[in-house]
């Protein structure tokens, strides 16, 4: 596990059934693999290829990223607040990149 710099925007509490907005940002260069150095040597691809959001262990959102996604991938999506618990975010990428971060949410009736 790498110690990637991750920023999350997740509400701490929500009403049951409420649609909550989740915003995530992870520090990563997203090297496309199409660039060359000034000597003409191709720079190999190094990107994040997938992002997963788990809500108490159940996958609620996933994204497949390609070199067209900007550096420091930002994702904004939503989920329904069903129960109190933990949201887990996972980023996977080239060269064994793996980062994870969690957020607690308390759901009131």
């Amino acid at each position: 596990m790498t110690t990637a710099n991750v920023r999350l925007d997740v509400p701490k509490s929500a009403k049951r059934g409420e649609i909550i907005d989740i915003k995530t940002l992870v520090a990563h260069g997203m090297e496309t693999g199409f660039r060359r150095t000034h000597l003409g040597v191709p720079i190999p691809r190094d990107i994040i290829t997938s992002f997963t959001c788990l809500y108490n262990g159940v996958e609620v959102f996933r994204a497949e990223l390609h070199p067209s996604v900007s550096a420091n991938p930002y994702l904004h999506f939503s989920t329904v607040a069903t129960e109190s618990g933990m949201l887990e975010f996972q980023w996977r990428g080239d060269n064994g990149f793996f980062a994870t971060q969690t957020a607690q949410i308390s759901v009131t009736a």
Binding site: R35, H66, Y74, H76
Partner: protein, 158 residues
């Protein structure tokens, strides 16, 4: 005639500025030759099924100064219930080195068929979002955007 909206005006005026030779009718959606194999990739995704227009709303700025960081959001008109929801949203471009941009996989637990991210644009081009619904149908929306500083294809100084 109603005065054109700000968005429409920007698209039209910058389109005229960007290309000096243009026919008298400048439309927001211009046809440009794809530089990658986008049509083939889309055909493979849908398995040759018809892609309907509508339901999907793809939001990108009409004119971007920096192709490295283009905000992009997609929403789909869907109740997002167990019986009727959006399974996936695919975003493609026709003039980046690769046609695939990003794929969002969602389901009824998303509550709302919406996702947003930031992407790179190598050129002035059309972007297409295709939504895959739970009944197996495909819906799409296309947006044209003008890029003044392109991403990924710039030459580094020798």
């Amino acid at each position: 005639m109603t005065p054109p909206s700000r968005r429409k005006f920007l698209v039209l005026s910058s389109g005229i500025a960007a290309t000096t030779v243009l026919p008298s009718t400048v439309r927001a959606q211009m046809v440009r030759t794809p530089l990658n194999n986008m049509p083939e990739v889309i055909r493979k995704l849908t398995g040759g099924k018809t892609i309907n227009k509508g339901k999907v709303r793809l939001d990108v700025p009409p004119l971007v100064e920096n192709g490295h960081l283009v905000p992009l959001s997609v929403s789909v008109d869907s109740p997002m219930t167990e019986a009727d929801h959006v399974r996936a949203i695919h975003v493609f471009t026709e003039r980046n080195p690769l046609p695939e941009m990003v794929t969002f996989r969602l389901g009824p637990r998303a509550g709302r068929a919406f996702a947003a991210t930031r992407v790179r644009m190598a050129d002035t081009q059309n972007v297409i979002a295709i939504a895959e619904l739970s009944d197996g149908s495909y819906w799409s929306d296309t947006a044209f955007l003008i890029v003044t500083l392109a991403a990924c294809l710039e030459e580094l100084p020798a």
